[in-house]
């Protein structure tokens, strides 16, 4: 019983669709810039999507009811992923979304209005809850069956894909649109700054002098189908989602354990589930946020699994910023691109090797034979998920 990836859609700081994202990756064009956002008092390095809420509404003909930016970004990504798919009576279609911000982008606007003593727009609060985000997106595409929302911090979308794969494996659905979405908000920027892990400069994943993350926003969704669905829809598979696993780190609410236990377990079990040999993993799209803690912990976990034979790896977060809940799906799209185009994706802004590990990431967009890709997403709360995508 195989899980096929047949569609994907993405919107991020480096492009409003798959082709634009791929082009930016190829040309090594980051979407992170020093910017003054309306939601935050200081200038910071961040990666906003270059379309306003109104642009998104108009482009995707979104109804006039309240929508958070989270939903709008999700609609943009699903529009591309869903593409020409149709609702068919014998194809059970489900929707699994994920977000950590939910409608907070609007709620904090409302809060500010209240504080300023202006008449506050209550409709800003109506889209607050995370479940509403998914429902709005599913509703836009007429998906009525199973709708669910996950919220497990930075591993959210990867967990959404994992749940989708399991549901297909167990015959609970035939076609599932799964992924995640998160916008930039004062809430998350302030939060990461208060933890002192927000880099005041452009982030440097896996670099010796890395100093934290930069936040980004975006959304990505994949369409996953089983064989029965493909024969009904006629969709052409891009690759397989072959392995998945989630494990806890059981160490700290926001830091990863030095020995990378949770990450090691997640990767090990995902690889085992996939049946792929270690030597067939051609590329690893790392979580690689650029924090001192994650990049060391994740490197240690890679060494635990692969010993001295770590496959080419990189983090794409110096392109897109850390997109929180959406990261797992954005990076799933990049993993699929790696397979479809047979390329290794570059990590940007890397200069000095980490003294503790001596590991060097891929820094060029490089043609390569790619059989299978491992994609990591490690969330706060020690929630670690790894996915394995494989060429058909």
């Amino acid at each position: 019983m195989s899980v096929f990836v047949t569609g994907m859609g993405i919107i991020s700081a480096i492009g409003n669709n798959v082709v634009e994202n791929l082009s930016s990756l190829q040309e090594r064009r980051s979407g992170i810039r020093k910017t003054k956002l309306t939601c935050h008092p200081q200038e910071i390095y961040a990666a906003p999507v270059n379309l306003s809420d109104d642009d998104l509404r108009n482009r995707f003909q979104v109804s006039n009811t309240p929508h958070s930016r989270t939903s709008l970004l999700g609609i943009a990504a699903v529009a591309e992923a869903w593409g020409h798919n149709k609702h068919l009576p014998n194809v059970r279609t489900a929707f699994i979304g994920s977000t950590s911000v939910g409608g907070m982008d609007k709620t904090e606007k409302y809060y500010r209005q209240v504080l300023e003593g202006n008449s506050a727009d209550f409709s800003l609060v109506q889209t607050h809850d995370s479940g509403n985000t998914s429902e709005k997106i599913a509703h836009h595409f007429g998906i009525k069956g199973y709708i669910n929302t996950l919220s497990t911090a930075c591993s959210s979308a990867a967990n959404a894909l994992m749940l989708a794969a399991r549901m297909l494996e167990h015959g609970h659905a035939d076609r599932i649109v799964a992924g995640g979405s998160d916008p930039l908000t004062g809430f998350t920027i302030s939060g990461f700054q208060s933890l002192m892990i927000y880099d005041e400069d452009w982030c440097k994943p896996f670099d010796e002098n890395r100093n934290g993350l930069n936040l980004g926003e975006g959304a990505a969704y994949l369409v996953l189908e089983n064989e029965k669905s493909i024969s009904a829809t006629g969709n052409k598979p891009l690759c397989l989602l072959k392995g998945w696993s989630n494990a806890a780190d059981a160490y700290h609410q926001t830091a990863s354990s030095p020995e990378g236990k949770g990450a090691t377990l997640a990767m090990k079990n995902a690889i085992e589930k996939s049946g792929v040999a270690l030597s067939d993993i051609s590329y690893i799209n790392a979580h690689g946020t650029g924090t001192k803690n994650n990049d060391l912990s994740e490197s240690t976990a890679l060494q635990n699994i692969f010993g001295k034979n770590i496959p080419p790896f990189s983090s794409t977060k110096a392109f897109t910023g850390h997109t929180l809940a959406a990261a797992g799906a954005i990076e799933a799209v990049y993993s699929v691109l790696s397979i479809v185009h047979q390329v290794l994706l570059p990590g940007l802004n890397y200069t000095n090797v980490m003294s503790e590990t001596g590991l060097t990431p891929v820094t060029e967009y490089k043609p390569c034979q790619v059989n299978a890709v491992l994609s990591n997403s490690f969330g706060f709360g020690g929630n670690n998920t790894s996915l394995i995508f494989k060429k058909i």
């Binding site: 939910g102 919220s151 497990t152 167990h170 809430f187 700054q193 609410q253 709360g381 929630n383």
Partner: protein
């Protein structure tokens, strides 16, 4: 099969249908703190947790008084929780700290994710199994019945349930193990949930 369950609604806690604890309204300490003291737990980190984490933590500790979890390896117990409001109570407190006080609180920010509850439980117990948190419109026994399918391959037990705090505490956690004798039952979950 669901072996043990715990129901906390408003000021009462039932364990497998029997009254386990009732809030003392004359005590100035809130119910979570009263329960913490009643269980005689010595875990200072408890006091830093937000309400969602405290609720999940306490209910898990109560279940552990009945279930011998030493039978399971440290990565064999999975956790699945859900509610309809994520961690919005803590979100509002954090919003207050950065929008009004202009001093964003890292201790609050840490809890502005609904899955930190599974993080806290896994830290306390050194559990390395899988975990997930969902946002559902309402308590859904069918959803939890489906989650029982996690019980295969490596995962041998499941600590799962509904951690609703708004408008008041309305929580239900159960412990399930894969056994041949009795399959997982939506009816049983519903009966247990509606006991309060």
């Amino acid at each position: 099969m669901m072996t043990t369950w715990c129901r906390w609604k408003s000021d009462k806690v039932l364990l497998n249908g029997e009254l386990f604890f009732q809030c003392d309204k004359n005590n100035t300490e809130d119910m979570a703190l009263q329960l913490y003291r009643f269980l005689k737990i010595d875990y200072p980190k408890f006091h830093k947790m937000d309400s969602l984490s405290k609720t999940g933590f306490l209910l898990t500790e109560i279940i552990k008084t009945r279930v011998d979890i030493s039978r399971f390896a440290d990565d064999e117990i999975a956790m699945v929780f859900a509610n309809n409001h994520s961690c919005s109570e803590t979100d509002v407190k954090f919003e207050h700290s950065y929008l009004e006080d202009k001093t964003p609180s890292p201790a609050l920010f840490v809890y502005t994710l609904p899955n930190i509850v599974t993080g806290e439980i896994s830290i306390r117990n050194k559990w390395y199994g899988e975990s997930s948190v969902y946002i559902l419109p309402a308590f859904d026994a069918g959803f939890f019945e489906n989650q029982a399918e996690i019980l295969q391959a490596h995962t041998k037990a499941l600590m799962a349930g509904w951690l609703q705090l708004l408008p008041e505490t309305d929580a239900f956690i159960y412990f399930a193990e894969k056994t041949a004798e009795e399959p997982f039952s939506t009816k049983k979950i519903l009966q247990a949930y509606h006991s309060l």
